[in-house]
C-alpha cells in the first residue's frame, strides 16, 4: 500500500501546484476539481471516511460546479478585470 500512498501524495502535490501555477483560469478550475477528488481519496487513506464523503460532495462536486459557473460569468464580461491599483482607480471613475 506504500506504493499507492506515495503515488497519491506525489500526484496531490503535483495537482495542487498545477492548479495554482496556470496561465489559464479554466485549467486551474479543472485541476481544482481533480484536486478535490484526490483529496477525498487521501482522506480515506487517513482513516476518516466521513470527512472524505464531505470532501467528495463539497470539494469535488459543488465547488467544481460553482467554479465552472464563475468562469462562465467571467467570460461573459466583455472587458477583463482591471489589474493593479491604478487600473482599479481608472475603473472607479
Amino acid at each position: 500500500m506504500h506504493v499507492f500512498d506515495i503515488l497519491l501524495v506525489g500526484m496531490l502535490i503535483w495537482i495542487a501546484v498545477g492548479s495554482l501555477n496556470q496561465n489559464r483560469l479554466f485549467k486551474s478550475v479543472v485541476m481544482l476539481i481533480i484536486f478535490g477528488l484526490f483529496m477525498a481519496i487521501a482522506w480515506i487513506r487517513l482513516g476518516s471516511p466521513d470527512v472524505a464523503l464531505a470532501e467528495a460532495a463539497i470539494g469535488a462536486g459543488v465547488t467544481g460546479a460553482l467554479m465552472l459557473d464563475a468562469v462562465g460569468h467571467l467570460r461573459e464580461r466583455a472587458t477583463p478585470y482591471p489589474l493593479g491599483p491604478e487600473a482599479a482607480e481608472d475603473a472607479d471613475e
Partner: protein, 86 residues
C-alpha cells in the same frame, strides 16, 4: 486478494496521471473537461476498491456520491461554462 486490489488501485491512479496530460494540452476547454469527467468514473472505482480493501462499508456511499456529482459537474460545464476557455 489484497495484493490484487492494491494493484488495481495503483493502476487506476496511474491512468488518472496519464489523463492529466490532456488538461495541459487542451486545446479547447471541452478537452480539458473530458479529463475531469474521466476522473469522475475513476474516482468511483477507486473509492469502491478502497472500501473493499479497508473493510469500510460506508465508503460505498461515497462512491454513489461521486457518481451523482460527476454528472452535476458535467452539466454545469455544458450549461454555464461552455466556451469559457477559447
Amino acid at each position: 486478494m489484497t495484493l490484487a486490489l492494491q494493484a488495481l488501485a495503483v493502476t487506476i491512479l496511474l491512468s488518472v496521471a496519464i489523463g492529466i496530460y490532456r488538461i495541459e494540452r487542451g486545446p479547447t476547454g471541452t478537452d480539458r473537461m473530458l479529463s475531469a469527467m474521466l476522473f469522475g468514473t475513476s474516482g468511483v472505482a477507486l473509492t469502491l476498491v478502497l472500501a473493499e480493501l479497508t473493510r469500510l462499508g460506508g465508503l460505498r456511499d461515497m462512491g454513489l456520491t461521486f457518481a451523482l456529482l460527476g454528472a452535476l459537474t458535467s452539466v454545469a460545464f455544458v450549461k454555464r461554462a461552455w466556451g469559457a476557455d477559447d
